[in-house]
Subunit: 310 residues, 2 copies
């Protein structure tokens, strides 16, 4: 989709409308930084891309407008750096070369005809296919793959998404100046949101730190995913966290069970947890939670947490 | 100064122009959150305030314009929540009451006459003086002190200062759109600055973490204190740090010797360092530094680090 190309990402729902699991959507979470991806639409591959970051949970980008109206709001966003091929490649014309490298299951194109597979979204392909497309699309002088253009590395797409949302808030005629101010400052865990949170929480539930200078006011349901102004300012939608715990929580590397047990994602290594000095702390029970915190904790666990891919 | 009142702070140089130490400036660093302060100017106390945060190193606010032209650029900024007294209090008129509570050394007003002491900037006073002023300024119905208005708690004045500087950059006609973009994104440790930094540093020198998702691109000389665009984008003016180390470094709770030894500020407790899981890590030597990093490391150590008050 052109929105995904210009935005520098791929976005998919997490499951099919029926609620059924889809391998093509699960593949979003399997893609790793530096993986190569091909973009196929209307019979041609016009763009190749490089994954810059693991996928994370994000609302359907507003650029989609009416595309996929039936999809759930929250899906996987996979940051990809796209480059246009100098010559678009038509798989149908090179199907003889591609055929032997196509996977038996979940193939993006049909091995017989070279036509696209309707249900495919993100499919795993052999490096050989990527190389064939690259040679066709760029000419034979370029066989080492596309190097990651420097313009995108080091830019966090979450910042861009948040900044977009901030612009929408600032331009929203339905909000008063005070509300705009409160919502914008709540993005950084400041102002009204932090004050509300500090009336409920005293310190970091994982490390026990209570020194305000060392604490971040972290949203449980992420600021960018909040459905209303109320959720963004709700003191129950937050925890005070030391900055390293905040990072793990924000990225979905840890989550909390309703009973206060901490879940650790396979996305982060035990070695890193040790280096962060959190090995013992993660064995703690961080409960109990207030009734009003529970819905946010559950949202974070099901939507943001990077659990093992089944 | 009215700029300080409306801005919600006190600002002083760190030392006198001669380079000599000043107790009145040192007091900036001794003030603690919830301390009460009185603002005396032109013979009257018109405002009382409550310290909201410890002082930190910051450039002379631009609102000062030509005030204190001779002062060094970098000084102490003490966040204070000011409230106007309903009746300004003239110390001269109540000197008989105040006299016995005035300190012998470094008094803000002269015990004999009640006139202001020219050299005084921030002076330590007895709670009794504060109470006398409060009764005079608000009337006797209010003797319990001024409660901290809720509007300011939870707002980080650093964010406000940075946002001001960002607006100056965006409006600067001497900068191209690309430069503006680079400078603004570098504030969050993103974009060009992070790319430059990643060519020099591999991971967190304190924890050893190399997982990019767990690292912050942290300026050594703070973004808001940088003297030029070059300093803001210079890869040598940064370290990759895990978020809790970044917070300690940014607040001046730790600093580095030229030989790579880590200095710990008395502003943070060993108990907190243990809770952060950094007790062992802080014993590491984080050197050596590249020649071009040294000037920034030295700036951070002398200007940002919160060393013990002599």
């Amino acid at each position: 989709m052109e929105q995904e190309i210009s935005g520098g990402y791929l976005w998919s729902p997490k499951v099919e409308n029926s609620g059924a699991r889809s391998q093509f959507y699960e593949n979003m979470r399997l893609a790793s930084p530096r993986d190569h991806v091909l973009s196929y639409a209307k019979g041609v591959i016009a763009f190749v891309g490089t994954v810059t970051e693991f996928a994370f949970s994000a609302a359907k980008p507003t650029e989609f407008a009416n595309v996929g109206k039936q999809w759930a709001k929250e899906g996987w966003l996979l940051p990809v750096l796209w480059q246009r091929l100098s010559t678009p490649v038509r798989p149908k014309s090179v199907i003889a070369q591609l055929r032997e490298h196509l996977p038996e299951r979940y193939s993006p194109i049909q091995a017989k005809t070279g036509k696209g597979n309707q249900k495919a979204y993100l499919a795993a392909i052999d490096e050989a296919i990527y190389n064939i497309v690259l040679v066709q699309g760029y000419g034979s002088y370029l066989q080492d793959g596309v190097s990651l253009s420097s313009s995108r590395i080091g830019t966090d797409i979450r910042e861009e998404l948040d900044a977009q949302e901030e612009r929408r808030i600032v331009l929203d005629p339905a909000l008063s100046m005070t509300e705009k101010q409160q919502l914008v400052t709540s993005r950084r865990g400041q102002g009204e949101f932090r004050r509300n949170l500090c009336m409920i929480e005293r310190g970091c539930r994982i490390t026990g730190v209570q020194n305000q200078a060392l604490l971040v006011a972290s949203h449980i349901k992420p600021w960018r995913s909040c459905a209303s102004s109320h959720e963004r300012l709700d003191g129950h939608n937050g925890f005070l966290m030391t900055p390293h715990v905040d990072r793990l929580f924000d990225r979905g590397f840890i989550a909390f069970q309703d009973d206060g047990q901490i879940l650790l994602s396979p996305r982060v290594s035990v070695h890193d947890i040790r280096s962060l000095g959190l090995f013992k702390a993660l064995a703690r029970n961080v409960g109990p939670f207030a009734q009003q915190q529970m819905q946010y904790v559950a949202y974070h666990r099901t939507e943001v947490f990077m659990s093992a891919v089944a």
